[in-house]
Amino acid sequence: MPDTVSTGLRRTSPLARYWQGADAARMSAGAVSVEELPFQGVIRLQRREATSAFMNSVADILGAEAPVDPNTCAGESPACLWAAPNEWLLVTAPDKDRALAIALQQRLDEALPGETVAVALLSDARAVLKISGAAARDLLAKGCSLDLDPGQFSYGKCAATLLEQVPVTLYPMANESAYCLMVDRSYAAFIWDWLAHAMREFGEAAKSPDGVSS
């Protein structure tokens, strides 16, 4: 498997119909905006038992330790998210995924001969959205039952949960009031439409002299 794909075929985002000539789907209403981060790399790393040899090897390759506490994440590029016991999701910049996945599989196979490690590319299986702005938390709270208060869910945390009946992975981004939302590509358009509808109450049209809008 080559590190990169060289093809004449164009990649299509699951949100392509919302691009409207731009290089990603974007929308905003008042104090909240939603932006697609197209073609983000997503890799799932699984091991039956996370031995210290395994964890050390992963740390060597990633340059940061994979988090062992449930619902936490570490690093930025790639961000490494705890997904399940002995399972992590790595989120990378576009086009960095394939090389990283190959390196992980090869180097872990070498370091841990005879043991089972699974590295799966999921970049095409996920849509990644950035939800930012002062009302980002209010927007997510319309469909997500987690406590998103910064005291409970701050940078360094992550969670797999439901957003409006759709399974998602959610984590706060560094240094801004923004969240990264990962959703299966098949649900991306549904979630986009839902967010578009849900965020209208934060927009200008919702403002009134009576101060109804929150």
Partner: protein, 95 residues
């Protein structure tokens, strides 16, 4: 809506979970089991009135199966544990 304490993810809404029914174990020697032992495993449950142990899965979270002690009268999940944990305090005691 009840909150269930996933042994990994902590308290989450019940809608993230699915129930796998009473905790049972598949006969080790299935092919050697007589018809009665096998159909007991397939079809017969204690149907406890009160607290019994079930398996639940955090389907929309970490996808892990775990043990939950649930009161079948009140639907209260009183205790959750990893499948590997035989004894111990478990996770959470919902008052």
């Amino acid at each position: 809506m009840q909150q269930i304490d996933c042994p990994w993810c902590g308290k989450r809404n019940e809608t993230e979970f699915s129930c796998g029914g009473e905790l049972i174990s598949r006969p080790q020697d299935a092919l050697g089991a007589d018809d009665k032992a096998w159909t007991d495993y397939l079809y017969f449950r204690t149907n406890t009135k009160g607290v019994h142990t079930e398996v639940w899965r955090h389907t929309f979270g970490c996808r892990q199966w775990f043990k939950a002690e649930r009161n079948t009268l009140t639907h209260q999940v009183v205790n959750t544990r990893k499948l590997s944990e035989e004894t111990g305090e478990g996770h959470g005691d919902h008052g």
